[in-house]
């Protein structure tokens, strides 16, 4: 298989391979459960949603619990699963309210940095509870993972085009 002598197994390579394996597995499953021969807009939209979730989930599972953002994302997925059983969790609304309140508080607080990180905190999973150092560190890793996601998905799209 991959027995090129120069190939150094570094963590990012393994992360990429893990993500590829997981994501392709998820795509195969989606394809098997919902064959593309039914092109209704609803079906295609549902498939798009499932693929997007599969992509984010595959990356979060590939990172496992090594990162705050991946742990936050994984627990989000788990709580979403239980929410589908009927319980609508209002946790998300509470968090947004907290963020809005602290924006006003921070006008008197030490750094303008706190206000500036508020938008970032909403974008990075689990960002609301991180201190600034963690936030910046987690953001860097999150960006690296997102770019890997995009890179792999592009390759898959290209591959699909080629094999047509």
């Amino acid at each position: 298989m991959m027995n090129t002598p120069q190939q150094v197994k570094n963590p990012s390579t393994s992360l990429k391979s893990r993500f590829i394996t997981r994501f392709l597995g998820a795509l195969t499953k989606i394809n098997a459960e919902d064959p593309i021969s039914s092109p209704s807009p609803t079906r295609i939209f549902q498939r798009y949603r499932r693929i997007k979730v599969a992509s984010n989930k595959s990356m979060a599972y590939s990172v496992r619990s090594r990162r705050i953002w991946s742990r936050a994302m994984l627990s989000r997925f788990r709580s979403r699963r239980s929410a589908f059983s009927g319980r609508r969790s209002s946790v998300k609304t509470t968090n947004c309210t907290t963020i809005n309140v602290t924006i006003n508080e921070n006008k008197t607080a030490k750094g303008g940095l706190d206000m500036q990180t508020d938008e970032l905190r909403e974008l990075v999973p689990g960002g609301e509870a991180m201190d600034v150092c963690n936030l910046l560190d987690e953001t860097a890793h999150y960006i690296k993972c997102l770019t890997t996601q995009v890179q792999v998905m592009r390759k898959i799209v290209d591959f699909c085009h080629l094999s047509k």
């Binding site: 394996t21 195969t28 593309i36 938008e119 560190d137 995009v150 792999v152 998905m153």
Partner: protein
């Protein structure tokens, strides 16, 4: 609320240097955007803003690629795809 204040007091122990270092790590991940005025002195605010924009861009790309995949899906054969993709990405 109280956890926010606790975080603020612990932040005074985090040095400016640490934050600057983390910010420069972030800046290196961001795509090059030719700005006429900002050459070297990218303030923290600018880096954070660019980071937020970049993350939003990446989210949109995942969205867009998911959309395209949803229409292309039938042609995937996972095993051969996996081998080919891993090979092409790791070279």
């Amino acid at each position: 609320m109280s956890s926010r204040r606790w975080r603020e007091s612990s932040r005074t122990n985090i040095s400016e240097e640490q934050i600057t270092q983390l910010l420069s790590t972030l800046r290196q991940l961001l795509p090059e955007i030719p700005h006429s005025h900002s050459h070297k002195a990218s303030s923290a605010a600018k880096v954070l803003k660019q980071t937020c924009n970049y993350i939003k861009t990446l989210h949109r790309e995942v969205d867009d690629l998911s959309d395209r995949l949803s229409q292309l899906l039938a042609t995937i054969d996972a095993d051969s795809a996996e081998a080919a993709i891993i090979r092409s990405l790791l070279i």
